[in-house]
Each structure stands twice: as C-alpha cells, then as structure tokens.
Symmetry: C2
DNA sequence: AAGTGGTCTAGACCACCGA
DNA sequence: CGGTGGTCTAGACCACTTT
C-alpha cells in the first residue's frame, strides 16, 4: 500500500489556524492536480475509484468526491457514471468546443484546416518576453500559418512558444491540433486562455497573405495560454476575416 | 407552516422510472428558481436558511444545500458564510464584471457613460422578430445611444426590446444600467447572453455618429439576452472603436 | 452566545455500465 | 452480476458574522 500522504492527526489537517486554512478536500484536490501535472496520470486514462483514493489517502469517500467534483468542474477530469473517472483529453473535438470560437454565420462549428507558412527558433523580442514571462536572451519558436474554414482561407496566425520547452518543434511537421501536440509530445496541458479582441485594418503584408485588399477590416484575437502549473506556454495572434464567420461568446 | 410541496411518498419522488428521472435536489432547485422568477424572493434580499427550507420542503439539509450550491454556481444566489444566502443583484458592478467585456488596453475595467440618441415604440422588423421570438405585428422598443469610456466616445448601441414587456420604457428617461432597470421596473432578470463578434467597416451614418472617418474598422457585438424563464428579452448591436480598448474573453 | 453557511464523516440506496 | 459514480440522509464539528 502506498504511503498515506494525508494521514495526519485529525486536528492538524486544517492547520488548526484561521489564516492559511485549506479544507481537506482542497488539499486532496491539489495533491491530485500534482499527479496530473507530473504526468503520473495520463490523458484519456482512468484514475483509481473514489473508494481506492479515499483508502489510500486516509480520508472519507465524500471528501475525495468533492475534490474530484471540483476537478471535473475545472474540466481536468471527466466522470462517467458506471464507468469511472478519466483524465480529460485535449482532442480536436474538445478544442473545437472550448478554445476555438469561430463559427459560420448559421452557427455551424467546423474544424479549421491549417497551411504552414513558416516555423523557426529565434531570439524573443520584447513583446514575446513580456507575454511569455521570458528572460533576456531567451528563445522562442515562431510559427506562422494560414487556416481555412469551409474551404475559405480566413485566418492568419502568428504563434510564439517558449524555446526552453518547445525547441524540438522548430524542425518538424506540425499537426493541425497544436494543443493536443503540446500535451502528447511535451506534457504541457493548456487549461486556460485569455483573449483580447480588436477590429483592425489589415496591413499590406497580412492582407496579401489572406488575398484580400489592403486595409480590409479583420478581427484580431490576441491570446495567451497557460498550462496546469499556470505557466504561460503560448502567445498567439490570429487575424480573422469575419465576412461569413463570427466569434461566439456565451456568458453564463 | 407552508404546505410541504415536496412531501410525497419516498419512492415517488424520483418518479421511480428511469426515463424523466429528476434528482430530488434538482426538483428543489427548480422550485426555488420558480420563486425567483415569480418575484417571491427579491434581488438583494436574504432567503430562508438551509434548515428552514429543509424543514419546509420535507427534505434533508444536505439536499437543500446541493440545490442552493447549484444556484450559486449559476450566479442566481450569493452565499455568505455566517450571514446567509441572498438573491443576486444586477448591480452596475455585477454587470461590469460579467456582461460588459470592454477594457482599456492596460486592463482597467471602467464604467461606460451613456448618451441617449433616441427611444421609441415601433413595429418589429424581420430581424427583430427572429431574434426576440416575436409574432407578426408585434412591437419593439428601440433605443439608440452612444457610450464613452475614459471620456472617449467609442460605442454606438442599437437596442431592441419586446414591446409587450417594455412598452413603458419608450416615453421616459433611461438609466445607464439597463439590466438593473429591467429587473427593478419590469421584474425581468437577465441571466444569459450570447454574443457574435465581427470586424466591419463602419458605414457613413454610423461613422458620423462616432465622429470617425467613413469605413473605419469597428468591432460589432451582436448580443441576445435571455431571462430566468429563457425568454429572449433584448437584442443589442454595439459598434465599438477598439483603437485603445479591447474585448476581453477568458476561457476556463 | 446564537445562527449562518462550510466541511467531514458514515452509511444506505439508486442509476448506469460492462462482463 | 459486481463495480462505478450519483443521490440522499443524519449528525458532528468548524469558520464566520452578528447580537
């Protein structure tokens, strides 16, 4: 039997003090998130049952349940009645529904196709260092690609990744689903993104790549993505033509 | 003592059948949502304690707790340890944080000021009937206003409301916080909005109202809002200048 | 001190899945 | 059928707010 990481005298569990008080289920949750971040539990695989975890950690099943429920709410886990609890996967389907918000104007959600323009390893510029929390002289992998929806080329993407993690990407073919690739090849799970949207007039170079007139209006999506350890792992700026597509945002 | 709405033979509560099975806490939640929608519980006011509700409804406190927790997650209620449970309010603060997503480029969230251009009651056009689920010949209240952030006029808004509910709005002064007004004067609580964003070139008339050049790029936010009963209660299109502001979207 | 919501436990039973 | 997660209960104790 594994060591019982949480088997501590009852009254010490919550530290007994008001400041820094962390409920037991929270401690359990944090411990289990560690297992995800460390790769002890692989995406798509099932994790031990509530009973097993409760016994292993020396807490009640109800406490484990609450920890697992919060993780399911954070979409780190997927629970299936009768089957078990599974580590969430960043499949194309998942990405499509949660991170890719462009739809056709009749509300269809389509898989975007990608056409690579370039990829390489470079010294990070000021903006990249700021967005990715890098230091002086650090390198980034830069990716530029075009994406199309319903056969129409409507997105130009400039992506920057920390070289320290992703340098190996610079010299190889890249899949359409980058987040799935980050997870499977680098153990980096994107769990949160923050986007800033603006309307701009396309400059000549970008308009040419998208084969539209200079100064055509475009929607820019400036996105930073963070992983399980809250590290910024990707900075991406997308230039989108929204004549026949829109960015969907549902609140609540 | 009020009639015990849920005091039914134990085995009938879940209907006993697999199809249409609704957990007890779900039934409690739906019953309590009814009280909100009917105005029995007013925004900002406290509701009875878990113990009281459990006794009144003939279920355990744990079941009431789960119902209240889900409602808090839906942001219909606000729970405060030691104080009680309160009906959520659509205060300016609340709106600002949850429905108004424009920020300055240094990430400050500012209260927008509003300047009314016009308001009136009209027969709904095709687009309005479709967005607001109205019938032939139904009327709408149309509102047009300019809004400014940090002293700069950057938003032009066209709003349409079902006349059947909001006709009284047509002849009076309108507050800056419309959603709060819908709640306090019409008992309409907006709980969900869906937005479609596009980048467009402003037409001459709208550019003139915003005092910018013809064909200036603008971010359009096409929003439909629904109330507690899932009725569409507002259609709003905002034209935003995003030179010094952006639309913020955080996922997860 | 009294009352509220928050945590934790233990146990029973239900719905669902797969073998 | 056994095992999983999901619901429901009852009771104890904790943290927080108000009186």
């Amino acid at each position: 039997m594994p060591t019982a990481a949480l088997k501590v005298p009852d009254r010490d569990r919550g530290r007994g003090r008001s400041v820094g008080y962390r409920p037991l289920y929270r401690q359990v949750r944090d411990l289990l998130v560690r297992r995800l971040a460390d790769g002890q539990w692989q995406p798509g695989k099932s994790i031990p049952s509530e009973q097993q975890l409760a016994h292993e950690l020396g807490v009640s099943q109800g406490t484990v349940r609450k920890a697992l429920d919060t993780m399911a709410a954070e979409r780190l886990l997927v629970r299936q009645q009768g089957r078990g609890t599974f580590v969430a996967e960043l499949t194309e389907q998942h990405i499509l529904f949660h991170f890719f918000k462009l739809r056709t104007d009749d509300d269809a959600q389509l898989f975007p196709a990608s056409q690579m323009i370039g990829v390489g390893l470079w010294r990070a510029d000021d903006a990249e260092r700021e967005r990715l929390a890098l230091g002086d002289g650090d390198e980034v992998v830069r990716i530029r690609r075009l994406r199309s929806l319903a056969g129409e080329t409507v997105i130009l993407e400039d992506i920057a990744l920390p070289g320290a993690i992703f340098a190996a990407l610079a010299g190889c073919d890249l899949p359409n689903n980058l987040y799935g690739c980050y997870a499977s090849r680098f153990g980096v799970t994107v769990v949160q993104v923050s986007e800033r949207l603006k309307a701009v007039a396309l400059d000549g170079a970008r308009a040419a790549l998208l084969k539209v007139a200079d100064a055509t209006p475009a929607l820019t999506i400036d996105r930073v993505a963070w992983d399980l350890d809250a590290r910024p792992v990707e900075w991406r700026v997308s230039y989108c033509l929204t004549e026949r597509f829109h960015y969907r945002s549902d609140v609540r």
